[in-house]
Amino acid sequence: MTASDRPEPLVKIRDLHFRFGARVIFDGADIDIQRGKITTIMGPSGTGKTTLLRMIGGQLRPDSGSVLVDGLEVPKLKTDELFALRKHMGMMFQTGALFTGLTIFENVAYPLREHTKLPEAMIRDLVLIKLQAVGLRGARNLMPAELSGGMARRVALARAVALDPMMIMYDEPFTGQDPITVGVIMQLIRHLNESLGITSIIVSHDVTEVSAISDYIYMISEGKVVDHGPPAELKQSRSDWVQQFLQALPDGPVPFQYPAPDYRADLLGDGG
């Protein structure tokens, strides 16, 4: 495919710079998210993956650079324009972020009640359809505290798709889940993507799972994109850092040791 017949990406990030106080999180990153594809952003914990999703959703503003979503410059949007855009974005938070005071049913119904004037009977049908899709129709009367972590994420997913968004952002969907749940969530992500054509952005550091379902992967480290490409190409990457990450090697460009003074001097010394 040449550059010209490629469709315009849904999300287009250019020269992104961002810092928390003195700490640089992004230092000139360029990222494209193609429509209808599953794109994964990979990187070690604390590199700013969640931060990136928050910037795409307009909850944080970059210091400089541009974040275009569906042709709109997100950091420049006014509050009501931003809210209008967010109705077309779903986000599955790392913790699920379910409303602890509401039942599962009411959690999924929440965006519908807020943003539509549908009659109660239709809301009920829509919620049951979404819950059926994640296999939790029978759990509708439970409270979030009664769910396992994996079930909470599935409910969060049902809620994220309640308004039929054009894209969904998944924040570490596999982290801390048992293998069966991981399989279920992978299947759900793929299903939503294939059958509904929803653009998916996954943020993760789970190499195997991500390689299996992603169309395209970005590897980020220290605020920059280290390498990107389809999973198969990335395996051939010439970057030592990418190889260390993909093969889970304990030592390499990312040192095993946190920066420390000389070991011998440290043992013999008495201070510090």
Binding site: R86, T95, F99, Y110
Partner: protein, 259 residues
């Protein structure tokens, strides 16, 4: 010079927080219209803030009123003025103890709960989640709680005073033998609607405003960790108590004069 530096730094932090608190208040006022349009949000909060504080307010009011009746009787009886007991008990409660003690209890019972609830919603990303669903948490979460707190406080203070007067009556008339007719008629003759009751209501309204403001702000501004939420909750109670007592002096000076 170190102390001067740290004084300056503390001052700056204080003023920055005050500034952010006021900006936050403006946003809450901006979000208030939605609450008015959806009374169900307000009613649910009036219940959890107001009604659930009722028991502690009523029990405390009764105790304070009984103690007041006992103490005042022992002083008044030396002057043969025990017939004024009703007036003294009622004025102490309506002007001072009702608004102040009820507000302190309110800060401890409802204020801390508000901070913890909003803080936990922040720490568990529920507020973020709401924002990402294109719902403004200031409108949906903060504004209804703020309005409910502000409206509940004068009602709770009134209940506190009313129950307190009954407590004073029980001790004074029931146990110590003050004349029942004198108790009520002295009270009726000497408690003024505008001077005493309206001023008391204004006080409790101001205390409710400040205590709820502190509570929702501390919750919304919390550091989103377990530790952060517990610190904010403590701060709500401590800061509310200070604010209530300091404002009480200012308001008393303005209302009942002498300064």
């Amino acid at each position: 010079m170190d102390w001067l530096q740290s004084l300056g730094r503390t001052g700056l932090i204080l003023f920055e927080r005050l500034g952010r608190g006021h900006l936050f208040l403006l946003r809450v006022f901006g979000g208030m219209s939605d609450t008015v349009l959806r009374p169900s949000l307000l009613i649910a909060q009036m219940y959890s803030i107001g009604v659930l504080s009722f028991t502690i307010i009523a029990i405390s009011g009764l105790n304070v009123g009984m103690v007041l009746g006992l103490q005042m009787y022992n002083t008044l009886v030396d002057f043969g003025a025990e017939d004024s007991l009703g007036q003294v008990v009622a004025l102490s409660l309506v002007r001072e103890l009702g608004p102040v003690v009820a507000a302190l209890l309110f800060a401890g019972r409802a204020g801390s709960a508000l901070t913890a609830e909003i803080g936990l919603m922040k720490a568990t990303e529920q507020l973020s989640g709401m924002e990402m669903m294109a719902v403004d948490p200031i409108k949906r979460v903060v504004a209804p709680r703020f309005l409910a707190g502000m409206l509940s406080m004068p009602l709770l203070a009134a209940i506190f005073s009313a129950v307190g007067i009954l407590g004073g009556f029980f001790v004074g008339v029931g146990l110590l033998g003050v004349d029942s007719g004198a108790f009520w008629s002295q009270m009726q003759a000497n408690v003024d609607l505008r001077e005493d009751i309206v001023n008391g209501v204004i006080k409790s309204f101001v205390f409710g405003f400040v205590a709820t403001w502190i509570a929702v702000y501390e919750g919304y501004d919390t550091v989103p960790t377990t530790e952060g939420v517990s610190r904010s909750t403590t701060r709500t109670v401590v800061h509310s108590a200070f604010a209530i007592l300091a404002l009480d002096f200012v308001l008393t000076a303005l209302m009942f004069g002498g300064i």
